[in-house]
């Protein structure tokens, strides 16, 4: 058997702790100085390795380790005890938000109704058209909504109530105010609105401050005949 094979066997026997028990290896070591030297070197290296590994793992545990674990356990326990309360608080906040949000939204809409929806004409009072805000003239499209110049697209309130397609126009706020007044007047005076829509001429608005029949001694006559 060659020295190389002996050395291989020596290493394995050393690792198993059986080198000293092998008669054949002991005989070879006695007659081969280089293998004996190799054996000693391997033995020293293995001892150093084993003691190095042992030194690595057998360090004393720090005294702070177990108290640290206990402290973290307690912290976790207290957090766990608080958990149902936290869940309850989150749930309550959610319910509160669900209840208050529609309410707040409704209130905010009520506040902002004038700048947002400027004019509305309902089907029975039809028809108002504006050059500045052209809208569909189809009979079914009865609702005109003018929007503020902040250029926000607001969902039409009447969606779902009517089959009419949604109409939205963006106009200047000043024009919107004018349109609103016009729409109000049209609602109050449907005949006037109708006449305006059909003739394109602006009739004289009836002056509500004049009540000719209230004073029997007052003569009424057309405006053109007034001297």
């Amino acid at each position: 058997m060659s020295c190389e094979a002996y050395r291989e066997g020596l290493s394995d026997a050393l690792l198993r702790g059986e080198a000293a028990r092998s008669e054949m290896l002991a005989t070879h070591l006695r007659v081969c100085p280089s293998c004996a030297e190799f054996y000693e070197a391997q033995k020293r290296l293995l001892d150093a390795m084993d003691s190095g590994v042992r030194a690595m793992v057998n360090e004393e545990m720090p005294a702070s380790l177990l108290p640290g674990v206990r402290a973290r356990m307690e912290q976790e326990e207290s957090q766990r005890a608080m958990l149902p309360w936290k869940i309850a608080a989150v749930a309550a906040a959610g319910v509160l938000a669900l209840v208050t949000y529609p309410l707040l939204r409704h209130m905010s809409r009520a506040k902002n109704v004038s700048p947002m929806s400027i004019a509305e004409i309902h089907p029975q009072h039809n028809v108002l058209q504006s050059a500045a805000a052209p809208v569909s003239t189809k009979p079914g499209t009865s609702v005109l909504q003018a929007r503020s110049a902040s250029h926000q697209h607001v969902r039409q309130k009447e969606r779902g109530k009517t089959d009419a397609p949604e109409m939205q126009v963006l106009i200047d706020p000043a024009e919107a105010r004018g349109l609103r007044k016009l729409a109000k007047a049209a609602v109050q005076n449907p005949e006037w609105a109708l006449a305006m829509a059909h003739n394109g001429e602006l009739p004289v608005l009836p002056d509500e401050s004049i009540h000719p029949h209230e004073a029997p001694d007052t003569e009424t006559m057309p405006f053109e005949k007034v001297p």
């Binding site: 690595m56 793992v57 360090e59």
Partner: protein
């Protein structure tokens, strides 16, 4: 006039039973903590070679064990689980530390690198330690864990086998191969 209080005896007993059970589990865990705390620390130390990091990792592992104590009450099961989780956490920590060191080393100026040791014997010993650590790091995980557990004082190979849930013969063969590979790397 006597005051009467309405109680629900079933519920009261149930609550008391739960409290008792909890107290017993806490006592049991406390006993396991005292028994296995050092083991967790040593496994972490074997991987990380740094007491502060090993303490952190051991704490984390023990805390996880506490969270899962309901299904880990059997002592052998507990020890095995703790060893594996500690080893895994320590490896994760070691890998991230390695990545950080690598990044820092790339930015480190040459003059700021650690100076060579002056005393030859210290240098030799440190050099060997560093080589050993490197060789250990290169070992496959299953060999490394067996080697570390077998090196921990107070645990026999049978106990190591019990912790890892493998036969003693497998522990012995893994230990042999681990030491052989280590020896080859150190040669």
């Amino acid at each position: 006039m006597r005051e009467l209080v309405l109680i629900q005896p079933g519920r009261a007993l149930e609550g008391a039973g739960r409290e008792l059970e909890r107290a017993r589990a806490d006592r049991e865990f406390e006993a396991r903590l005292a028994e296995c705390g050092p083991l967790a620390f040593r496994v972490a130390q074997g991987v990380l070679q740094n007491a502060a990091d090993a303490e952190d990792v051991a704490q984390e592992a023990l805390l996880r064990a506490y969270r899962n104590f309901a299904r880990l009450r059997e002592p052998v099961k507990f020890r095995g689980w703790l060893v594996r989780i500690t080893f895994r956490l320590a490896l994760d920590r070691w890998r991230s530390a390695r990545r950080r060191e690598k990044r820092e080393a790339e930015w480190l100026l040459p003059e700021r690198r650690t100076a060579a040791p002056t005393a030859e014997d210290v240098a030799a010993s440190r050099e060997f330690q560093a080589r050993l650590e490197r060789a250990l790091e290169e070992l496959p995980e299953k060999f490394r864990l067996v080697l570390l557990l077998a090196a921990i004082e107070g645990y026999t190979l049978e106990e190591v086998a019990g912790m890892l849930g493998i036969p003693v013969g497998t522990v012995k063969s893994r230990l042999f191969l681990a030491r052989k590979k280590l020896l080859e790397k150190l040669r």
